[in-house]
Amino acid sequence: MSQYAMVIDLHRCVGCHACALACRAEWNVPVPYHRSWVEDLGPEETSEGLSYTFFPAMCNHCDHPVCVEVCPAEPIEKEFRDPKTGKTIKMAAKATYKNPINGLVLIDKDRCLGCGACVDACPYGARYLDDTLDKPKADKCTFCVERLEHGEVPACVKTCPVDARIFGDITDKDSEVYRLVHKEGAKSLTSKEVNIGPNVYYLGKKKDIELLFKKCAPHKRTWENVKAPSRRDVLVAAIKKIRDKV
């Protein structure tokens, strides 16, 4: 299996938000939701001096996605095809699932119940329930899977003015992301409490990484208390909503 991953180089990042806006434009993400966003951190003291850095954030396409765990949708068997080898894999997938070929955590919109369990479960706040739709659906960053299929890079990678976003297959030892993670020490945002194998990595000055972890590493095991509603509850809520609108 491959695993798509992204490294964000804070040496280069200038905190310009271009990535967030390119994502919004490409997928017409309605305000105020976001699939990709940027937070300002500092200026603040660290053990290495003042730091003023940025947290460009998105879904981490985790190795152990807790959002998938809590999804209440009935799993159905799906077939996934590896475009490189032509091999296929069969797997039972819920509405939210991890693609066994490329490691992307994706949402099957047709099957999403709109219950929001995954939104509450994600310790990174990467998901939203799109309430601008008649039937709300969960949504989030897909690493631009559709663009990847057409040989394009993710929209945020393409627009970044300083090429701070490096994208690739981390299982490929010749890839730049592999080198940055395994040789340059790019780190994913984890903590003692929360380590679910995120695939977005950050590289930067020591002080900036220190501030990033202090401010942004998740500590709450958000998924543990998520009670996914029964499908009946979800149905009833949806009907009520439609009735309210009428």
């Binding site: 905190g15 310009c16 390119a22 490409e26 305000v31 939701y33 937070e39 003291e45 003042l50 929209a155």
Partner: protein, 764 residues
């Protein structure tokens, strides 16, 4: 900004309502474009869209772009891959151009004022009525008060057309770009006088070994090509020195941060120049061959010691020595950034940038990799069509608004003088204003005076895209096509790799918006000016392109952009003729000497804050341009309001915590219209507060920006005029904070040396 889910849902309702009210009229089709790759509108996202090359104007860096169109609607904006500067990239604002074109608040039709000036109450009228009315008033005013009673405030590419109309009417007040008088005037003048070229900002950062920024905050200022060059420089191992009272985004990437006392930059630069000369750290050969006035310079700066500068600037001697040694060790490959926005203190701004220009010359960092470089000239043809001539029988007014400023004629009439003449009738009356593409109320120092002048005019018209607060004062408003809907003039970039490109319509103008060419031509017709005879935009563009063997069609075949060969660097063995009076780099400025201005820069102290006050400084956020983008749905969402930066130690003494909301009050008693959140941080000097520029719109017609955040501009009421060209200062105001109704003094943690007098507040 992150919202919890409830907040999400609450604001989502508002967003949907706004979207629902916005319908694109039927039949709006994309304009014909060069053959794009296979167009397939059913692919997801922007995949398969039709591509039209053009030029961005979300800010004035003007990156080449590709507009991506599906079903007649722009779905995405990307950089033009042919561009040597940005390639396929655009910044946050560039990405958000879609929300300018589809902003439901846009001006849709010509309108006539029905309420009071400033209220923004209008009634829809026809283009014919609007243009007739403007022409009638221009002629009437000219007849009654003379040609110079007409004044134009302008900015941006479209303004080039309207400028011609005012020039054709014979006024001396036809190009009064607030951009120069409020922004770039001082730096432009300093570099032109020293080098003879406009090489300000042509700084070869990507090839430099050390970069030096004075207040320049690239990254927060998102001019894409520069940001890219600066970060490339860092990536290639360049060192960075940042001089700024605030720990800016580049300060975080810097090797040395010098948190200088505001107003003392020239002291530091003069001491550095002296140190470089005294310690033989300069490039003797270069100076001998190419510079004029070295001995006068040496003599002029000899009194400025490093110890003195450290005390005046409130910096550590060790740090300022380390910085200048670092620069000297890497000469000539040092990128001393000229700066851009330079209207800081009024007095001394030109000389501060002269010092930067001189230091650059001493290091020989001129037209070498990593230094400043020459613009490559491109022989573009001229089209007579869009050039109007001033009538021959018109005489310059007896007393010109430029009289007191020996170098104003480079830029136009000082905006402050136009405002004064309008308010007082002296030295001559100004009775009619045109305002095109610039929100003057949110740009020019002391907006209260600007509004007073607007009240006194006989007639004012505005050509705009959005109903800004300045537009709300107009008697007639004309809706202009925005940059994605129109042609402008040919755009030539003269940088490292020069190129030629054009702005062209990606889609047709919405509603009744019209292109600047069309508007200007209709005005010219009515005013019987002998210009704008060509029938279409394409015609004058082809005329301009002809001399470099191009045409619009040819350019579009090349993807909308053609690269040219640049000549940025000098041949070390050949003499250079600079286009200064002496043909050399003028360390000693003959032109300044002729006008009784200091030919060698001197230190003139800038008044320090009165006791209990801090200096108000401002800057940019990367998601906004001036006050232009605050109503953009996406950019507003990204950054709806600014935070006020306050030093941590000061805040503790004042009892202010991170996120507290305060009112700002300035030395003249003007208060911010609403509360601002405080960002308590060690990353700013105790005697300075910082507020990002452009927020707090007062136009109720801007439904997203109205009253959002606090405006720095409405606190900038005290200004000093630049003696060289009449620019207005913007960093000469002082503020206190009001929390829970109590006015709090800002404690003074860094004592002011006796050489720097304080501003005194007049007791009334």
């Amino acid at each position: 900004m992150k919202l919890n889910r409830r907040q999400f849902l609450e604001s989502a309702g508002i967003a949907t309502a706004a979207l629902a009210a916005w319908k694109i009229p039927k039949g709006v089709l994309a304009s014909p474009a060069p053959a794009a790759s296979k167009v397939a509108t059913d692919l997801p996202g922007s995949l398969g869209a039709k591509e039209v090359p053009s030029v961005c104007e979300m800010c004035f860096w003007r990156c080449p772009i590709i507009g991506k169109v599906k079903n007649g609607r722009i779905v995405k904006i990307e950089g033009n891959p042919k561009s040597p500067t940005n390639g396929h990239r655009v910044c946050a604002r560039g990405n958000s151009g879609i929300q300018l074109i589809y902003d439901p608040d846009r001006l849709k039709y010509p309108m006539k004022r029905v309420g009071a000036r400033g209220e923004g109450k209008w009634a829809r009228i026809s283009w014919k009525e609007a243009l007739d009315e403007i022409a009638y008033n221009m002629e009437k005013t000219r007849k009654k008060y003379g040609p110079s009673s007409l004044a134009l405030f302008d900015h941006g590419a479209s303004a080039e057309f309207y400028r011609q109309i005012f020039k054709g009417m014979g006024t001396e007040n036809y190009t009064n770009e607030p951009a120069f008088f409020q922004c770039m005037g001082a730096v432009s003048l300093a570099y032109v006088m020293t080098y003879g070229y406009k090489i300000a900002e042509r700084v070869d950062m990507s090839h430099s070994k050390v970069m030096l920024f004075f207040g320049t905050h690239l990254g927060e200022n998102a001019h894409l090509a520069q940001v890219r060059e600066y970060v490339t420089g860092l990536q290639n191992g360049a060192k960075l020195i940042v001089v700024d009272p605030r720990f800016s985004a580049p300060a975080n990437k810097a090797d040395i941060w010098l948190p200088i006392r505001p107003g003392t930059d020239t002291a530091l630069l003069l001491a550095w120049i002296n140190y470089v000369i005294q310690n033989d750290l300069y490039d003797k050969e270069f100076v001998q061959m190419h510079c004029k006035g070295f001995n006068e310079l040496k003599e002029g700066v000899k009194g400025y010691s490093m110890e003195w500068a450290a005390r005046i600037c409130d910096l550590k001697l060790h740090d300022i020595k380390k910085a200048i040694d670092m620069l000297a060790a890497s000469r000539p490959h040092v990128a001393i950034h000229s700066g851009r926005h330079s209207a800081w203190y009024g007095r001394g701004d030109v000389q501060r940038h002269r010092c930067l220009a001189i230091l650059t010359a001493l290091f020989g960092a001129v037209a070498v990799p990593g230094g400043i470089y020459f613009p490559t000239s491109v022989d573009l043809g001229e089209s007579d069509c869009v050039e109007c001539e001033a009538p021959e029988d018109v005489e310059e007014p007896e007393t010109s608004l430029k009289d007191n400023y020996p170098f104003a004629s480079y830029f136009g009439s000082p905006t402050a003088e136009i405002i004064r003449a309008t308010r007082t009738g002296k030295p001559y009356p100004i009775k009619l204003w045109g305002i095109a593409g610039v929100n003057i109320i949110h740009t020019i120092s002391n907006p209260y005076e600007t509004m007073d002048a607007l009240r006194k005019l006989d007639f004012v018209f505005s050509i705009e895209i959005l109903p800004t607060e300045s537009a709300t004062w107009a008697d007639i408003v004309l809706p202009e096509a925005n940059y994605l809907e129109r042609y402008d003039k040919v755009y030539v970039n003269h940088d490292l790799t020069p190129y030629v490109t054009v702005r062209q319509p990606v889609v047709k103008p919405l509603f009744e918006a019209k292109s600047p060419f069309w508007i200007a031509r209709e005005m010219a017709k009515r005013l019987k000016l002998d210009c704008f005879h060509c029938k279409s935009e394409e015609e004058y563009l082809d005329e301009e392109l002809e001399d470099i063997d191009l045409s619009l069609a040819k350019l579009n075949k090349e993807g909308g952009l053609v690269r040219l060969k640049g000549h940025p660097y000098r041949d070390p063995n050949k003499p250079i003729k600079f286009s200064t009076d002496s043909g050399k780099i003028e360390l000693f400025s003959g032109s300044f000497d002729d006008e009784d201005m200091d030919p060698i820069p001197k230190f003139e102290p800038i008044l320090a804050p009165p006791k209990g006050y801090a200096r108000l400084v401002y800057g940019r956020v990367p998601t906004h341009t001036f006050s232009r983008t605050m109503n953009n749905l996406w950019l507003h969402n990204e950054c709806p309001e600014p935070m006020l930066w306050l030093n941590k130690e000061v805040a503790e003494k004042m009892g202010i915590k991170y996120g507290d909301r305060v009112v700002i009050v300035n030395q003249d008693g003007y208060r911010s219209a609403n509360l601002v959140k405080v960002k308590v941080t060690p990353g700013i000097r105790p005697d300075t507060v910082y507020l990002p520029h452009g927020f707090g719109s007062r136009s109720p017609l801007l439904t997203k920006a109205y009253k959002q955040g606090v405006s720095d501009q409405f606190l900038i009421t005290r200004y000093i005029l630049d003696p060289f060209f009449g620019g207005s200062s913007h960093r000469t105001d002082f503020v206190k904070l009001i929390k829970d109704g109590k006015t709090l003094d800002i404690p003074e943690l860094r004592p002011v040396p006796p050489e720097i007098p304080r501003f005194e507040i007049k007791k009334v």
